[in-house]
Every structure is written in structure tokens, then in C-alpha cells.
Amino acid sequence: MSTLKITDLHVSVETDQGTKQILRGVNLEINSGETHAIMGPNGSGKSTLAYTIAGHPKYTVDSGSITLDGVDVLEMSVDERAKAGLFLAMQYPVEIPGVTVTNFLRTAKTAIDGEAPSLRNWIKDVRESMANLKMDSSFAERNVNEGFSGGEKKRHEILQLELLKPKFAVLDETDSGLDVDALKIVSEGVNRAKENSDMGVLLITHYTRILRYIKPEFVHVFVNGKVAEEGGPELADRLESEGYDRYLEIA
């Protein structure tokens, strides 16, 4: 079993108006097989947490720690974190000109596993995962995210999740911009990946909608850069009916 542990994490970002503190002491512990939902209003720091775990250079960790099975994640480069088993499904996946999906997936798989996948199995796996996500086979020859619709980009993120088989997946507002059909397809993909492995999931979302399809055991409400309340799935139900106003008034 693996554990991703975040302890008293303080993170800031440089803006034109100077240094802005975003995370103000986040504590979180996720074990293999668990699904944690992080919910919160805009600007509460949810995405910052996601990017900090993945190692985006824009964010500065001022104090606190992130460890994976006791190993310091903050000391690792972005690619080392991915190799260690962390995966971030991005909210806004970028276009990579000149790199086809096929080439990209194979290169990523080779980098993560430290060796090239056996060709026959790999082609079969890719084909299967694409079919599961209702992605047309022509996708494979397109350049990464180039000209993809919002829904296609998210499916492509989940395709990577299924194929790269991380220990922990952080889903950064994967549900935003999806219609209900696409939301179901993407959610099924995440659930499939969980069934086939012992993956832990950190599901970051603004809305409760995706929680109808991906069931969290733990819900953390994020307000003003830290966890304001924690609970089980019932907390999500309460947010569904009441919204975030209660927390904002306190803050």
C-alpha cells in the first residue's frame, strides 16, 4: 500500500502585484485505493494544490512537505514525480505541435516504466482504452490536444491515466466543460482504472455533479487555502443543497 501525505503545506505564487499566498497550511493523507474529493469555491486553492503536487515551476512551496511513502516529493523534478507514480489530469491540457498521440503515449509509457512496452500488447491496450473512452481511432494520429474539443481533451487525459497506471491520480476539475454523456464516459474511465489497480484518487471539483459517478470515501472542503471541513460522502450531499456560502461567511 502507498501513502501520499501532505503536511502543513504553504504555497505562494509570484504575480504582477507581488507574492500572493495561496495555500495556508494544507494537511491531507491519501492511501492506495481511496478516493478523496476536494471541493471548494473558485480561488480557494484547489488547482494550486494539484499543480504543486505535480511540480509546476510557477508555484513556490514556502513550507510544509509532500511525501510519497515517506520519500520527499518536493525534491523531485516534474518527470521524476510522474515516474514515482503521481499523475495529474490537467484542467487545461496544452497542445503539443508535431507530436502525435501515438508517439506521445509510447514515449510516456517508456519513460514511466523505464523500458519500451512490448509492441503487440501495447497496441492492444491503447486500442482497448480508446474504445472504452469512445475515442475514434483517428485520434491516435492527431497531434496531442491540437484541435481537440474540450471533451476530447479530457478523454485523452483519462486515456493516459488508464495506460500509465499511476499510484495516485490527481484529477483537476476533469468534470468542467463536459456534457453529461462525456462526464459519464470519463467517470467510467476513472472507475475502470481504479478497479484494475490500487490507485488512489484526489478528485478536485467545484461541483458535486461528478460525485454521482465517482464515489469518494472522503470529502474535504477547501476554503481560503486550507481544509475548512472534512467528512464522508454526506458532506458532498450537504454542499449540493447548501453550496459554499456557509464557509465563505465564516472566512
Binding site: 505535480a54 509546476h56 516534474v78 510522474a82 496544452v94 503539443i96 508535431g98 519513460a111
Partner: protein
């Protein structure tokens, strides 16, 4: 005051350098070029004697030196700028590459001992009617070279010409290529520019007879303080002629500079023609500059197709983050992006061994640039 020439085909031509005014860098065709570094080549004395080269014995291809008075010299085109005229006037003999075989033949002519003398060269590549062949001009070592390369493609012939610039880092190279493509003949012309301080290769092609076609390709990689330029010109002068122009380049490092100007002229005789030109640039780092200027002039109402495209994209930190977040190292990420981007052209060169070597050179450049 002189009125600037508007139509591409109306530019003055002459083999006499005195017919061109001194180059200041303000001229339309020099304004992107670092002319201060090149004045001695543009207007100075050049050694126009025979140059050293090595070439493999190839059946169906012969090499010989011919006098400048040979009627073939000047039959593909004439200089349109002072540097080209300077080389024309200075060359005392012309290297003739004669492709006669109707079976596919392939020859590589390597120049790696030109030295640092300011030098003029003149080459005529002639493909006989119905012949098929590939001629690679492989350029290495030092160079302070201005040259004219004429390419004559006879009726029904299929010729593939590739000029590869892998000079030493301080090399200066100005080249004008003039191609004339005959009836139902096809030319593939490629310019691969990797190393050298200033490389300016200006290829022009006249589709002179019915059914002639040309595929003009370019691949370039400019690193810090390197200038790579190409002014490409296709003149559709006959009915049913077809042209494709695809130039792709990557830039990496402070001061890396590339220029692509693509002129396509579809003359009033050239009915039913089909043309498309495109240039794409990929900027791998900050501090690079790519100029890309397509021009299309059409003098007939009857064309099958004509189009152009130009795009310059950036490989930025967000793309790097995305790839690294999937376990791919920074070095590998750049390689992946550049290889993917340039492959479209490299794969078309038609000489697999050369394509492989170019990929290796590109990888070496990428690695050198990242450090």
C-alpha cells in the same frame, strides 16, 4: 529615385555584378540578411577556380569541368542579386553533373575542404530526358562561399537534388539555385541547413513546359547566433504545372534567426496549375526570431488550386510541463517535439541513409543547445 519592382518576374537579372548597386541591407531581398558580415562575399574578390570535392563513382552520373562559355551555363536562370552575379563573374569553370541513367542513380558530392578563402562556385546539374537520379550536395568544413547552382531537368526526367549544409560554425554560405523543369518532368529540390554562421540558399524554379512539377522542401535548425535564410521562388510558366513548397524550421537559443520568403507566380500562360506553399517554424526557446513571408501572384483566372500557409509556433514551458508530468525528461521532450515537427519533411527527402543521419545531427544540436 527608382520605382521598386512589384512583380517577381520583373526583377532585373544580370551576370555582371556592376549592374547591381552596392548592397546596403535596405533592399527588399537583403533586408533580413546580416549584410555587414557578407560584404566581401557580395562585392569582394572571389577565388573562382576549380574547388575540391569528393564523389563516389556512380553508373549513370558523370562529373566534368566545363567552360563558362558552355551554352548550358545560364540556361536555367540568371543572377537576380549582386552576390550571385559576383560569383557568376568570378567562376572560371563550371562543374557539370550529368545524370543520364534511366535506372535510378544516386550520387553524393561532398565538399569538405573549401577552406576559408572567399570563393565562388558554379555547378550545373543536368538530367537528360527520361533520366532518373538523385544528386546530394553534402557541405562540410569551412566555407566563405558564394555559388550558383543550375538545375536542368529534361523532358519526362525525374530528378531529386538535395543540398545539405553542415558547415563549421563560422561558415558563410550564399547560394542561388536556378531550376528549369521541362515537359512532364518532375524535380524534387531540398535544402537542409543545420550548421554554419550565415546560410542563405535561395532556390528558384521555373516550371517551363506543360505538365512540369516541382516539390520544394526545406528543413532547418538554427541555434544561438545562427542566421538561416531561404528565399524560395516558383514561377509557373506553363499549363498544367504543379508545385508544392514545404519548409519547416526549428530555432533554439539566443539570437537564432531564420528567414523564409516564398514567392509563387502563376503566369498568364499557366492555366490549370496547382500550387501550394507553406512554411512552419517552431521556436524552442526565448530570444529567437523567425520571419515568414509568403507571396502569391496570379495572372490567370484558370487555376486548379493555389494556396499558402505560414505559421510560427512556440514550444513553451507549459508544453514542457505537460510532457514532463508524463514522465518524459526535458531533453527527451524537446527531441520528441522537434523530431515530430521536422519529420514531415525529413521523411520526404528520398534518401533513407541521409534522413537517418540528419535526424542524428538534429538530436546532437538539441542536446548541445540544452546544455
Amino acid at each position: 529615385m527608382t520605382v521598386p519592382v512589384q512583380v517577381r518576374s520583373a526583377r532585373p537579372k544580370s551576370t555582371n555584378p556592376a549592374d547591381f548597386e552596392a548592397v546596403t541591407g535596405r533592399e527588399l531581398d537583403w533586408k533580413f540578411t546580416p549584410v555587414a558580415k557578407l560584404q566581401e562575399l557580395i562585392a569582394g574578390d572571389l577565388d573562382g577556380s576549380r574547388f575540391d570535392y569528393t564523389a563516389s563513382e556512380t553508373a549513370g552520373v558523370s562529373l566534368s569541368w566545363i567552360p563558362v562559355s558552355d551554352p548550358r551555363v545560364g540556361s536555367a536562370g540568371l543572377p537576380e542579386d549582386k552576390a550571385s552575379a559576383n560569383a557568376w563573374a568570378a567562376a572560371t569553370e563550371v562543374l557539370l553533373v550529368s545524370v543520364t541513367s534511366e535506372d535510378v542513380s544516386e550520387i553524393t558530392i561532398t565538399r569538405d575542404a573549401l577552406g576559408t578563402t572567399h570563393r565562388a562556385a558554379h555547378i550545373v546539374i543536368e538530367a537528360a530526358p527520361f533520366s532518373k537520379g538523385t544528386v546530394v550536395l553534402q557541405n562540410n568544413g569551412d566555407a566563405r562561399l558564394v555559388e550558383n547552382v543550375e538545375i536542368l531537368v529534361g523532358a519526362e526526367a525525374q530528378l531529386n537534388v538535395i543540398s545539405v549544409q553542415e558547415w563549421n560554425d563560422d561558415a558563410l554560405h550564399l547560394a542561388s539555385h536556378f531550376s528549369r523543369v521541362g515537359r512532364n518532368a518532375s524535380l524534387q529540390h531540398s535544402v537542409v541547413s543545420l550548421t554554419g554562421e550565415v546560410i542563405r540558399v535561395n532556390p528558384s524554379t521555373v516550371l517551363a513546359e506543360d505538365g512540369s512539377s516541382v516539390n520544394m522542401l526545406g528543413v532547418y535548425f538554427a541555434d544561438a547566433h545562427q542566421h538561416i535564410e531561404q528565399q524560395v521562388y516558383v514561377n509557373h510558366d506553363a499549363p498544367q504545372s504543379k508545385s508544392r513548397v514545404t519548409y519547416k524550421g526549428a530555432l533554439q537559443g539566443k539570437g537564432a534567426r531564420t528567414v523564409w520568403i516564398g514567392d509563387v507566380l502563376i503566369g498568364n500562360k499557366a492555366t490549370g496549375t496547382d500550387s501550394y506553399e507553406q512554411n512552419r517554424n517552431l521556436m524552442l526557446t526565448e530570444g529567437t526570431r523567425a520571419d515568414s513571408i509568403p507571396n502569391l501572384e496570379i495572372e490567370t483566372g484558370d487555376i486548379a488550386g493555389a494556396g499558402h500557409a505560414s505559421a510560427t509556433g512556440r514550444f513553451d514551458d507549459e508544453q514542457l510541463f505537460y510532457l514532463q508530468a508524463r514522465g518524459i525528461s526535458e531533453e527527451e521532450a524537446r527531441r520528441l517535439v522537434v523530431r515530430g515537427f521536422l519529420n514531415e519533411v525529413v521523411q520526404q527527402l528520398g534518401v533513407p541513409a541521409l534522413a537517418e543521419r540528419i535526424e542524428a545531427s538534429l538530436n546532437a544540436e538539441l542536446e548541445a543547445g540544452v546544455k
